[in-house]
Symmetry: C6
Subunit: 250 residues, 6 copies
Amino acid sequence: MAIMNNKAQDRLSFGSKALDEMIGGGLIRGTASLVSGAPGVGKTTLGLQFLIAGIKEDQPALLVSFEEFPASLIRDALQLGWDLKEMEREGLFKIIFTSPEVLLGSLKAQDSPLSETLYTLSPERMVIDSAAHFQRITNDPVELREIYNTLVNALKREGMTSLLLDEAVDVLALQQGRMASLPFLVDTVMLMRYVEIDSTMQRAIAVMKMRGSTHQKEIRRFQIQKGGLKIGDPFIGREGILSGTTHRIA
Amino acid sequence: MAIMNNKAQDRLSFGSKALDEMIGGGLIRGTASLVSGAPGVGKTTLGLQFLIAGIKEDQPALLVSFEEFPASLIRDALQLGWDLKEMEREGLFKIIFTSPEVLLGSLKAQDSPLSETLYTLSPERMVIDSAAHFQRITNDPVELREIYNTLVNALKREGMTSLLLDEAVDVLALQQGRMASLPFLVDTVMLMRYVEIDSTMQRAIAVMKMRGSTHQKEIRRFQIQKGGLKIGDPFIGREGILSGTTHRIA
Amino acid sequence: MAIMNNKAQDRLSFGSKALDEMIGGGLIRGTASLVSGAPGVGKTTLGLQFLIAGIKEDQPALLVSFEEFPASLIRDALQLGWDLKEMEREGLFKIIFTSPEVLLGSLKAQDSPLSETLYTLSPERMVIDSAAHFQRITNDPVELREIYNTLVNALKREGMTSLLLDEAVDVLALQQGRMASLPFLVDTVMLMRYVEIDSTMQRAIAVMKMRGSTHQKEIRRFQIQKGGLKIGDPFIGREGILSGTTHRIA
Amino acid sequence: MAIMNNKAQDRLSFGSKALDEMIGGGLIRGTASLVSGAPGVGKTTLGLQFLIAGIKEDQPALLVSFEEFPASLIRDALQLGWDLKEMEREGLFKIIFTSPEVLLGSLKAQDSPLSETLYTLSPERMVIDSAAHFQRITNDPVELREIYNTLVNALKREGMTSLLLDEAVDVLALQQGRMASLPFLVDTVMLMRYVEIDSTMQRAIAVMKMRGSTHQKEIRRFQIQKGGLKIGDPFIGREGILSGTTHRIA
Amino acid sequence: MAIMNNKAQDRLSFGSKALDEMIGGGLIRGTASLVSGAPGVGKTTLGLQFLIAGIKEDQPALLVSFEEFPASLIRDALQLGWDLKEMEREGLFKIIFTSPEVLLGSLKAQDSPLSETLYTLSPERMVIDSAAHFQRITNDPVELREIYNTLVNALKREGMTSLLLDEAVDVLALQQGRMASLPFLVDTVMLMRYVEIDSTMQRAIAVMKMRGSTHQKEIRRFQIQKGGLKIGDPFIGREGILSGTTHRIA
Amino acid sequence: MAIMNNKAQDRLSFGSKALDEMIGGGLIRGTASLVSGAPGVGKTTLGLQFLIAGIKEDQPALLVSFEEFPASLIRDALQLGWDLKEMEREGLFKIIFTSPEVLLGSLKAQDSPLSETLYTLSPERMVIDSAAHFQRITNDPVELREIYNTLVNALKREGMTSLLLDEAVDVLALQQGRMASLPFLVDTVMLMRYVEIDSTMQRAIAVMKMRGSTHQKEIRRFQIQKGGLKIGDPFIGREGILSGTTHRIA
């Protein structure tokens, strides 16, 4: 596998100047990031954009899908201008369709079913779609936190820079249940949100947390188009965007 | 059964220019869509409108009902100007009154009770009224997600373009329970909502998610009339429509 | 029992032009309607008004009470100008004081305790006060939905046009628990609400759902007086009436 | 015991013109009323005021306390200008300090511990402080509703006009749990509320439900002084008083 | 122990004219009061101020602590200008560090571990820090209410005037769980709240309930300084102070 | 270990004049403080800043981490201008990576695994990252409160001045569950919050509680930069900052 590059602050680009600027120049190599958002808001698109930016720099990229079939991912990617099949042929990209249990096992043991794939491809970038599926393994929030901890540490140990896509977690909420989990374990948290404005459904993206780096504080509009996310302006004159109670300032 | 048409972006019309434009020209053939809304808001009407638009293009159409009797559906459809009995006679339409368990079994095995119906009709369009009834099978959200996954994959494997009607799911909400489910599994999510404005009960429709396609972002008024939904204007000067806390902008 | 009149759209009046207009000319014969409201808002009054309007057209009417004694209902009705005892003597009206279990049994079997009453009276209109009491039979929402389904189907099979009074259900809410129930099963949903305006407790009525018919969308004031509900104006300049967060538009 | 006076609409006064007018001239003889409010808002004061108004008209009055000692009630009443000890000596008033179980038993059987007291005093007016204590008997909401039903029916059978004091129940709320209970069973519901206005704690009273009678719709201020409640003006220019989110209209 | 002074309305001062005026001239001798507030808002300070005002009038005073060590209480009191050690030496003050179970036992039996202390000191004023710890004894709200009832009655039987400090209970809320408890059992309820105003954390105090006495209705600012609470003005131009949703009136 | 300095009000600086002023001149030696905040808001940075300010005054400092690896902490600290490795070499700093159970055991017994480390380093300042992990030991809130009590008392007994980092606890909320815990047990509570303003994510810090000392009441902006937190202005013209419903005053 890829040997971790210890050069401090080695950055991995999203292939988008605006996105990279939001996270202080790119994701820090070897870190794990959480991308939280509602269904359809664009998490998988952001993940693919990250992987493809890597492929263009000859960094092997892996997409782990627990639910959506590779064929479906490939078809949707084509609409965004990305030919994943071609990239697979060129040997720098791979989609693995597996279960959370098998992935966890492969990250722990050397001779597991996925080990060869991981060894052959030696991915530098990885997207897990989605982290929510680890909830299938246990009902116990403490055990789940340990599973996530194992996962994040294994990904880092392998030197991979990873995006963990997840359902819309309310990271800003005050503690309600026991042991909120993923947002504390990862290095970076990116929020993607629907925002209802003027009777239209708009989209917002913000970086909430980034260990060991500065990042932009703006909550910004984005649209999905060929090539991935197009980052736009902040939401001037709006409040409550991230808490889901967006309204116009009088 | 119908062989899946692999031509990318083959679109199926609702027979309404405005509705089709909301979803980028029609539903993509072979995809599964969720229609979420409160009782009486017009989900079944939208479903029938979709099936009947298909029949007019000689596409066999199937309505699966778990609770409302066919006679009742036929009577209500007549009020909307649709003679379902006549369509059944012409062989392009069928209502099946069954249970979620039997439907699931038929989609899994070839020699199940519904298999012949499915084989004979070979439906290209299908409406399931409603997806909420699969909750009767299990209390476990993880098992329920797997059932929905099995259902959606079976529908796609058969090449059917399907609408899954469902009770009003809060797809915009931040994660509260474990493993929100259907909105993540389907390709398209359409929201139908009651909106209280000026002491009247109005109706709103919006497309929230559409895999592999662009779609309109507007939240639009609609009315139910002969022939189905009549799409109207966006709700200018209103906020909080989809979150249920609609109010006028000062 | 009354044979169902299959003439489409045969309407049953509330004996109030304004109320009938709200539901497109009256309740459709053979359908089941839900009336949802807080204690004291006027559900039983609306139910009696419906039955008495039928008696005036020689349609036998039945009131099933699970909790309030017939004597008490008779006394309260007298205040509204209705002499239920006299109507009972004339043979077109009957109050049955029974349990949900016995009612369900009678609707299923021919030789049950209530069968003779039902056979003799052959009611065309029926009010059940209240549907909430079926919750006494089971804690399981799935089983409860099946009980309600059985009830509604039995009432329709007998050709009766029925009002099911119920506690204040939040039919507009987004799905929270599992399998919301009655509002999906009935043909018509009428909401009765308290509204606090200018330091007074006012009352609102609205029709939310009506299968196979158009209906008025207005949320209207009403008062209770001799003869039943007096329908008034919509709540101009008010928002949030049905969600319980009524406030004046600035 | 007192034989129920069947003269329709025989009214029992609170000894306060304003209070009586709020409930259409007084409580209807033989009915049961719920008084709902937060601790300290004045429920017991209202109850005593009702009993004492009866004593002045030679109607025997009974106060049943489940928690507060008679000595304490007597001391507090003295502050309000009422000498309960003197009234007890005159034979028209009695405080019983007992448990919900014993009270229920006494209302069911003739030879129970309280029977002689009830027989000797033969109360026409009765206050139960508080109905919340019946929750000690069972955790099951269905069983609790039946207990309340038994209680209310026994009180009516004995011809007593009763006030059931209770903790602050949200009678306006949309159904959340299973089988809300007391507000449906009683004839009259009176709400007493704290209202925060201009950085002061004010008090509000309103009548929400009154079977077989008209009542005032206004939500009115009140103060507690010698002789009981002094009813004041409505809360002009305020909204949300009863829902607990009081705010000034802009 | 101190024999209860039966002179009606014998008042015990807080040593602060403003505070005493808020409660109609001081706490009524022999009553139990609840002081509810968030951590750090000043409940213990108010309790000490009450005890020390008594000591100055030669009334023995007892502080029962279930969690904070006497040494810590003594150190903090010194900052407020109170030398508790000196007061202990003078024999009019004592801190007992014990458990809820032991305290309850001592109030029930004569020969319990605390009996001698209670007998020797014969306290007229007592503060319990905090009542929340009785929740350690049971999970059952009905049993807890009985424990609180036993406690309050024992304190009154001994003639002590007591303050029960408690976590921030929402005494204004409408009933949600079963059997809210302490606020109903005590004679007086005082609320201490944090209020966020103009980006500062301010403090509010109000008296909500006071059996057998009038009290001020104002919600007032306070600050903590040497000698205890300094009562300030009401919050003019603010709403929602006690419900925690404070905002400025437009 | 360090012998507790009994000189009253001996203060420990954060190395930041503005921060120290917020807490009346620094944390009081020997006290325990809670730092509550969402993931990424800067709790660990504040903790490191506190430890490093001590090292500069030759006070040994200990960081206990339950989840984040020392290597990761060291790397992130470097970005903030702090060379933790160098400090470890100089013998005044140590990171212990352990479990809550082991830490608790070491604080209770003399011959536990951590005892030697604690004995050798004899830390005067200590940060626990994070207190939330003690929830792994038990589901019972009463037992958890006792564990926190044991922890806080042990830290104080050893004379250490400690910061307990914790997830975002709603210390201002009215009591909802049973026995809120840490905020009551510690001497000082500091809140760190995200605040959404003008479509940007800003950060707020406030001191809510400080036993035995005055403290600033302002809620202030802060930024994270080399050297730790840079304290800024209060949020003029904003309300609801700490309750999470921040909005601009009209």
